[in-house]
């Protein structure tokens, strides 16, 4: 089996994308679970590298595998809505604020926000990675941004006027 893994065409490309994958996984899992996030990224990378399926961008498929593995992890632990622990106080204040707000977001909104705003994917690719219609990606992204807007001191949440795109 190890010989097969070595010879797959995806291995090299995935090693090249590893920092981006780990960064995404860390943001998705939350600030206190770096080890878990790295394990997710590693497992996803190994699975896609071992896959003999040639269709699609292997890096994109690995992002999708991270999302899938994390959803399963959250489901199995029954922690879908449980806020992550507070971010370390020694971190930079502004980043603490953003990382902390994202960590306590509902998972569906966090996924959409991070795959677009952090990983830099377009809506079509985000739809493939999150296994959602593009309209759902956009509506989740809109909710996530409204949540961040509402978290600013003195700015009221404005979920009321958001139009959910079906």
């Amino acid at each position: 089996m190890s010989e097969e893994r070595k010879s797959t065409p995806h291995s090299e490309a995935l090693h090249e994308g590893a920092p981006e994958l780990r960064r995404f996984a860390r943001a998705l899992v939350g600030p206190v679970s770096t080890r878990t996030a790295d394990t997710l990224a590693q497992t996803a990378t190994a699975r896609i590298a071992a896959s003999d399926r040639l269709a699609g961008d292997p890096l994109e498929r690995t992002f999708a595998e991270i999302v899938r593995l994390n959803r399963r992890r959250v489901r199995e632990r029954g922690r879908a809505s449980e806020p992550a622990e507070a971010v370390g106080a020694e971190a930079e204040r502004r980043d603490v604020s953003m990382a902390g707000q994202i960590a306590v977001m509902p998972l569906d909104e966090r996924e959409a926000l991070l795959i677009v705003a952090l990983a830099g994917y377009g809506y079509e690719a985000a739809g493939r990675i999150l296994d959602l219609p593009v309209s759902s990606v956009v509506s989740r992204l809109m909710r996530a941004r409204a949540r961040l807007d509402g978290a600013k001191p003195g700015v009221a949440p404005r979920s009321g006027h958001l139009r959910v795109v079906k």
Binding site: M1, S2, R23, A117, G120, E124, G127, P133, R163
Partner: protein, 271 residues
């Protein structure tokens, strides 16, 4: 005075994320120049994006740990810049460039927005429809085509299909020859009535008509492709589209959208 056109909330987000065509991005820039409150919101989302980038530093700058080394791989622990990641970064750079271009356009247009608006109003008739509908993707477009096909053929009481399913072997062979579809998919409680061949994008599309246990007719459109999941709904008709094994599929009908979702799942749309 404004251009008389409304930009949707979704399009403001798409503008921030560089997801609009250049033409549409420019038109949104005009809108923003005329609507400073929306401009402030767009600026706020851009700042959010920047803050998110700063909040999660790239591990590339960190020492790669042995634990992360992929199992059974001889790849080096260091990760030099290579084509795949360069493509990825180039995409991000392009988004950034587009964003700068759009910001420049917004700034430049702020000064002449009234003149531009006046020109737009006088150069051509005002369009009573919004210039931007909700974002339409290729996947949603495929779902829309399925709805249109259903409208045309499922309502044809005389000849809804070209080849009936009574001769399944002939139908399957004909569809495979004309559309490359291996065989008509089975739907649990539905009966396949037959099929048609329709024009597609590059390849022919297969149109299959089923009667559900409820008596409703649903259409399945299939053509070679690999789009992400999409959806479309209008006038009591709806469709869901997805891709599987090199084919795009869309199921359409005048049935509740929840029913379409379950049909799509049954036919292979991933969970």
């Amino acid at each position: 005075m404004t251009g008389g056109s409304r930009v949707s909330e979704a399009e403001l987000h798409a503008f921030v994320d560089g997801q609009l065509s250049d033409e549409r991005a420019l038109a949104v820039a005009v809108w923003l120049a005329e609507h400073p409150r929306d401009g402030l919101r767009v600026d706020g989302w851009r700042m959010q994006n920047d803050a998110i980038q700063r909040a999660f530093p790239a591990p590339a700058r960190e020492r790669v740990t042995l634990a992360f080394r992929a199992p059974e791989s001889d790849a080096p622990l260091t990760m030099p810049a290579t084509p795949a990641i360069e493509v990825y970064r180039a995409r991000r750079r392009r988004r950034h460039t587009l964003s700068l271009v759009a910001a420049f356009a917004a700034g430049a247009l702020a000064a002449g927005a009234m003149a531009v608006g006046a020109h737009r109003m006088t150069a051509r008739p005002a369009n009573p429809e919004p210039i931007f509908a909700d974002i339409t993707t290729a996947s949603d477009e495929f779902a829309r085509r399925a709805v249109e096909a259903w409208q045309t053929y499922a309502r044809d009481n005389g000849r809804p299909v070209e080849v009936e399913a009574r001769d399944m072997a002939a139908l399957a062979k004909w569809l495979k020859d004309r559309t490359k579809l291996e065989r008509p998919p089975a739907i649990g409680d539905a009966r396949l009535i037959g099929g048609r061949v329709l024009p597609g994008h590059g390849e022919n599309a297969a149109f299959l008509l089923y009667r559900l246990g409820s008596g409703d007719l649903v259409a399945l459109l299939a053509e070679p492709g690999a789009h992400s999941p999409g959806a479309y709904a209008a006038n009591g008709l709806a469709a869901r589209s997805w891709s599987r094994d090199g084919f795009d599929y869309a199921v359409a009908g005048a049935v509740p959208e929840r029913r379409l979702d379950s049909l799509a799942m049954e036919l292979g749309r991933p969970l």
